[in-house]
Point group: C2
Chain length 403, copies 2
């Protein structure tokens, strides 16, 4: 039996590096970028007017002029005009290019426009502070060829917008992970079936499929019977077609738990079996040398949940080359005693406390089979192994499973 | 001009109630449940063995017996067997039904199995604590017909698993929101085009599409020219086909900003225009009576971002009938002075501090056009209007835009 820390380390040493694939920009959100994105031109690409108003040459204002004849309008998207007269100005719109021979924008709020003999004038009553006022200057944010987004970035809407701006319609990202979810256990029947009194419908594979979907992974579900020969054939096939197998059930000490034995015969090297934690102690992890990894999770739903969010999700993220997610912390709201020499994952409901910090209230749960209780929980607190009394106000890592 | 609080209130009064639709369970994660889910039978549905070991009748142990002849094996998924002899036991596997005439399970760790004259026996060396030890009793978690998941729940993997367990393969959820994203502004060209020096590629509509996608909304993008007649025709059509229009650009005071005028002509009632905030002040919001809503967001990317995460996202969630998301708080790490009488949305990068609380470091940004700076930010702090100095250590609401 190994510790949680050791399990995390071993799993972290066995992440994959997925090949690169090209996707359209509109399909790229949530993927991990595998190429650097650079500016194709300056940001902004021109002196960009940032307020609606008028553009003047600042020197003319300094020379004592405060009323300017309007020579025309510079609209956003129109080619640049040029100011002709020292006592002239051009109306300018946000997003427009700054007209030639002007260097300062005065917004409408700071001037008064009036008509005299059919000619329009702008009178400035709030002095401009200096040249380039209300002008977003060319290249002031980024210069052409600057690196904007390094490879390895998890793409969010901000990156999608920047990639659009530089004119890329496709982008290189990590290939999708191929994950097989395999439920085992003869007590399980399909969701569509009416179970006999001693049977239950399978639910863990749905849980895992939905949780993987939230990580952008489209996983396939399989159900295998507790039959050694069938397991050998089927698992061999799945190992050849997937990057990861997630098995649910079949790893405790029971008579019909052939999984570790079958995996060994198929060349899957055991990296550990049993982690000093509750729930989820019988967790088994292994890998085919330079090949797919196998997470064999304990079959009860609460253990499956804990193992997924603590171990599988970070592995998925790392294998997609994404940076690790922040693990928030939460303040325990109720004294909790747990004596066994195990890390304890406590189901909790969280809220935002008066201090602004996350608070975590334990959800009382009937045992690791009581997954209906998870409906009232938002995630788990990780309570460390070498401690048995956890007091109100103490702060622990929180693994959330809701968005 | 109205306050941020007032804007939130007006938008909140104009959420929609979407019709109900039926989807398959595997497509339901992230949707909002619109029917209650009840237990179809007891949870667990039978006295369920929760440890591998042997099952005995506790009274026999109390009567002094500590070694039991193994009569057989009760596997998970197999119909129940019955114990025949007082000095007998049955091996039982996790997930199996508790055999008839037994009431207690002793795990393998607490016994020794041996063979005598070809007959197998189990000797118990750690006394069971009482009846029903290591048995997850029928109906102990939930009883048949108990409400498990109320309507209005945002479905996450935990709910998907429970719905599978009760045997439902389809589920009633809110219909998808139909959202049109409309960019305007003649300075914008398509991503595929090479912009002239005074033009830029459109990016806001990609940003909004990606951000909506994260809320489960598949939005369509449109680009309209700054031409009043065309805007009238196109917007009329879009108002008849969508639940919400999100316009980007066209709401400042400029010459070519026809949008509010055109919307008024089309019967969209203005609910507000201009919010006392930076960035995003020119934000316009309206609605056709009992019909679609229109968010007309300022055209610069940082304003678009702020308005989406502060206003549009909560509206989307409420219109899907989902409960409001928790808004976390973060500790400001750098003194910030902002004097205008406006709510200030400060771009920040967050981390988990030593106290376990989120910390927020301001990201210095060139102005509301500098959206490349958003690449270094994780979200915005909302700094209240009636304050101008924000000190290190103060705690403010954080709107994040990364997962």
């Amino acid at each position: 039996m190994i510790t949680v820390t050791e399990a995390v380390r071993l799993i972290g040493e066995n992440t994959l590096t997925l090949p690169i694939t090209e996707v359209t920009l509109t399909a790229a959100n949530g993927s991990v970028l595998r190429e650097p994105i650079s500016a194709d031109r300056d940001f902004p690409p021109f002196h960009r007017v940032s307020m609606d108003g008028i553009a003047i040459r600042f020197a003319n204002f300094q020379a004592g002029e405060d009323t300017f004849r309007i020579e025309g309008v510079q609209l956003a998207g129109a080619p640049p005009q040029t100011l002709h007269q020292n006592d002239g100005c051009l109306e300018v719109m946000t997003g427009a290019i700054l007209p030639g021979n002007t260097d300062t924008v005065i917004r409408y709020e700071d001037l008064k426009i009036f008509d005299r003999n059919g000619i329009r004038y702008a009178h400035i009553f709030a002095a401009p502070k200096g040249r380039m006022q209300n002008v977003h200057q060319r290249g002031s944010d980024r210069q052409a060829a600057d690196l904007l987004i390094p490879a390895g970035t998890l793409l969010s809407p901000a990156e999608i917008a920047v990639i659009a701006t530089v004119g890329k319609t496709t982008v290189q990202v990590s290939q999708p992970l191929r994950v097989a979810i395999i439920s085992t256990g003869d007590e399980l029947v399909e969701v569509t079936e009416m179970p006999l009194p001693h049977q239950i419908r399978q639910s863990n594979s749905y849980l895992l499929q939905a949780a993987l979907q939230e990580q952008g992974v489209k996983a396939q579900r399989f159900h295998l019977r507790d039959d050694k020969a069938a397991l050998l054939t089927e698992l061999k096939d799945l190992l050849s077609r997937f990057d990861a197998l997630i098995l649910s059930g079949g790893v405790s000490k029971g008579k019909a738990d052939f999984i570790p034995e079958v995996l060994a015969e198929l060349g899957v090297q055991k990296l550990f079996h049993e982690v000093a934690q509750r729930p989820g102690k019988p967790f088994w992890f292994g890998r085919v040398a330079n090949g797919p990894v196998v997470f064999a999770l304990p079959g009860n739903p609460v253990s499956t949940f804990v193992c997924f969010y603590k171990y599988v999700r970070p592995w998925v993220r790392a294998s997609l080359s994404a940076p690790a997610a922040l693990v928030p912390k939460a303040i325990l709201q109720e004294e909790t005693v747990f004596r066994p020499d195990l890390t304890y994952f406590l189901p909790v409901k969280v809220a935002i406390g008066t201090s602004g910090m996350l608070t975590a209230k334990p959800v009382h749960i009937g045992g690791s089979g009581d997954f209906a209780a998870l409906l009232s929980a938002d995630g788990f607190l990780e309570l460390p192994q070498k401690q048995s009394t956890f007091s109100v106000g103490e702060v622990y890592a929180f693994y959330g499973f809701r968005s």
